[in-house]
Symmetry: C2
Subunit: 123 residues, 2 copies
């Protein structure tokens, strides 16, 4: 279900975009590919330093659309690859998924845990 | 109105995310920072190869939210910078804004011209 390119993208320099639906339309926040992790049960984990608007949006509507891309990974059409992930996000402030990320990112205030519904290589 | 970091981001390796609102929620498509251009009247120009879903969404609701980020530009909190752009998008298939981009990108089928309403450095 997870495309092979995703773990590779997560090791390379690149930008993640996390889109949620706010009351006034889509909202987008970014992080770095290398900040992502996978939980043992296959959730995508994202460290949240700020992301307050994303948190408020997710509380109303948990659906997230995430892109992970890097010019440093060979993609479907040559140099550069990208992956589109859809799922449901939750902000977690305790427990193993929080602790795992807090160990890596001292500054995080929450872990965004995304239950992946689909993940597709787009490039 | 345009943050100084944006032209710098457009010269560096990085990822652009373009979010629109579809009937089933937000949609996101990516391009590379270096593919962006500015028109003489300050529109953000994006080459569209595919982007069919984005085009359909924009036809219903022209509001777009765009992030431009790069780890190669010094940002507000150290290495890595990002910019959040909000505006209204239009798919253009003729005229100077199309020709300008077609000259650079032989594969493009349309130029997405974004009238910028706000542009903020976020990182």
């Amino acid at each position: 279900m997870i495309p092979e390119v995703l773990p590779e993208l997560m090791r390379k320099d690149g930008v993640v975009a996390i889109a949620t639906l706010g009351e006034d339309g889509p909202h987008v926040v970014n992080t770095w590919n290398a900040y992502l992790a996978m939980s043992e049960d296959g959730k995508l984990l994202i460290p949240a330093g700020y992301m307050h608007k994303t948190e408020a949006n997710v509380a109303r509507n948990p659906n997230v659309v995430i892109t992970v891309a890097s010019s440093k990974v060979k993609g479907l059409y040559g140099p550069g690859a990208g992956c589109l992930i859809k799922g449901k996000a939750e902000f977690i402030t305790s427990g193993p998924e929080f602790d795992l990320m807090k160990k890596r990112f001292e500054w995080l205030r929450a872990t965004v845990a995304v239950t992946i519904e689909s993940a597709t290589q787009t490039w």
